[in-house]
């Protein structure tokens, strides 16, 4: 499969703390890659380095072979990298529909609105299109963030803890939506809920202390002694 994103020896330090130390990461077209690890492992920092929220101190980030290491976040979004946030960040005072319209590349008023409504239908929020985003429940906001990320027209979708705070059925629904999306793009998902998220991944990377601890299929990850020792512990048993 074609590599959509390549991170080569990427490193980031905050003062005296090394958050990411020389990480290599490849994401391929059509795959759902899980990024796991304990708190402080460097997962979200890695996300921010890919999305352009932070610039790396060393290393390179390539999108379809193009060096985007120094590109700002808004330009990466236009190149096809979309993301959601660990703590949802909707445009609360805008309507649900406007949240998506702000992200859709402009083509023409009616077309944009139709595309936005189609996306809202896909995540089950069409009926709330005219409501203020601030009035939605957490589960709805999570779905809105996914829809907004899709509105960018991504080739690579980054989902930062999409299941956090969601109840069982809501989490299952969201995972189903995510799985259905990977046919047309690559997805990287940071998630703490390994039990739910690992089985739906095609491949997983486990980070610890800013470095890659293990990489492989969900089954390989589940049996990896280093991963069990550092992260999964009794959960794997």
């Amino acid at each position: 499969m074609t590599a959509i994103l390549e991170a080569r020896r990427v490193a980031k330090r905050f003062g005296g703390v090394v958050a990411v130390r020389g990480v290599d990461l490849t994401v391929r077209q059509g795959e759902l890659l899980g990024l796991f690890g304990p708190n402080g492992a460097g997962k979200t920092t890695m996300f921010n380095l890919i999305a352009g929220a932070f610039l790396p101190d060393a290393g390179q980030v390539l999108l379809h072979g193009r060096d985007i290491t120094r590109e700002p976040a808004w330009r990466r979004a236009r190149l096809g990298i979309a993301r959601s946030f660990q703590i949802v960040r909707p445009f609360r005072a805008l309507t649900v529909l406007e949240n998506l319209l702000a992200a859709i590349p402009a083509h023409g008023g009616a077309n944009d609105a139709a595309s936005a409504l189609a996306l809202l239908r896909r995540v089950g929020l069409e009926a709330r299109a005219r409501d203020a985003a601030g009035d939605l429940t957490l589960g709805m906001l999570k779905r809105l963030e996914v829809a907004r990320a899709l509105a960018v027209g991504p080739r690579l979708l980054l989902l930062d803890e999409p299941l956090a705070g969601l109840a069982g059925q809501e989490a299952a629904d969201l995972l189903r939506t995510v799985q259905a999306l990977k046919r047309r793009m690559a997805i990287v998902m940071v998630e703490h809920n390994v039990r739910l998220a690992l089985p739906v991944c095609d491949r997983a990377v486990v980070m610890d202390a800013g470095a890659v601890l293990a990489e492989g299929t969900p089954e390989q990850i589940r049996r990896d002694p280093a991963v069990i020792r550092a992260y999964l512990g009794s959960e794997a048993a």
Partner: protein, 287 residues
């Protein structure tokens, strides 16, 4: 009846001017989270530019309106790119002091360039209109109509255009706006240019109904800050409603007491709002 109408028109004219000035303050704060003390100097820039057009080139002061807007916007782009963009992300107090320094610098430059004399002109709309016993000057009416047109156009741009949607999104959350592909640096520059242009256009109108001095904008912008807090920091509609409310209150107070009371009342109102409804009339309470 005629007295009430007179006070109403006076209040609407001063409220309209305040509204245009406050729109810019609200826009800059809403989008950039910057309290721009130098906003008043853009008003002064527009006032002097119009005075120069009228007194040196013998043009109508109405020509000053688009000229002042464009001049203000251009100077705004330079100030934002050269000064403010370099302090984006710094602590709020640092940015506040930078805009204060810009204001002092502007005041000094205007004083050096034009001296402290009162500048005025007689060209432009003249004569009065008698409406039910109330005397309304054509100049005041022109200023009021221009304020309504500029405020309406600004609200339309903010509420109905793609640019406005981008600015509203940016005002909500900078990181999210960037992940939506909104060029946040360019958007901030456009917002500052628009606000500076509006301030300079307001300055043009101020020069039509009053005198121009180096601190004419400084005085107006202090009331604009009151209005923006009254309406809710960053709220465009709040700024407009707050401006009209303050204009009307000041009109009545100026008549009933005297001019010096009108500013005192404005700040008493500000104090009450901060105590009773810190988010302002149209602002959302912090979560």
């Amino acid at each position: 009846m005629s007295l009430a109408l007179q006070l109403l028109v006076n209040g609407l004219v001063s409220g309209g001017l305040l509204g245009v000035a406050a729109l810019g303050v609200a826009l800059i704060f809403g989008v950039m989270r910057v309290v721009n003390f130098a906003h008043g100097e853009f008003i002064t820039l527009g006032a002097y530019a119009t005075w120069l057009l009228v007194s040196q080139l013998h043009l109508s002061p109405l020509v000053g309106l688009p000229v002042a807007f464009v001049l203000g916007a251009l100077v705004g782009v330079v100030v934002q790119a050269v000064v403010l963009a370099r302090v984006t992300g710094r602590p709020e107090l640092d940015v506040l002091m930078v805009t204060y320094a810009l204001s002092v610098l502007g005041l000094g430059l205007f004083a050096q360039g034009f001296g402290g004399d009162f500048r005025s002109y007689s060209q432009g709309p003249h004569g009065n209109l008698d409406v039910a016993g109330a005397i309304i000057g054509w100049r005041s009416l022109t200023v009021l109509l221009a304020c309504v047109a500029m405020s309406g156009a600004t609200v339309l741009v903010i509420q109905r255009t793609r640019l406005g949607l981008g600015l509203r999104a940016l005002a909500q959350n900078r990181d999210s706006a960037a992940t939506c592909g909104i060029n946040v640096v360019a958007a901030e520059r456009i917002a500052f240019a628009l606000a500076s242009g509006l301030a300079a256009a307001a300055g043009c109108l101020v020069s039509m109904i009053g005198t121009t001095t180096p601190n004419v904008g400084h005085d107006l912008v202090l009331d604009a800050f009151v209005v923006v807090i009254l309406g809710g920091m960053g709220s465009i509609s709040g700024a407009l409603v707050g401006a009209l409310a303050l204009g009307l209150v000041q009109s009545v107070v100026s008549y009933a007491l005297d001019d010096s009371w009108s500013r005192m009342v404005a700040y008493l109102l500000l104090y009450c709002i901060i105590l009773l409804r810190p988010q302002g009339l149209f602002g959302r309470a912090a979560a």
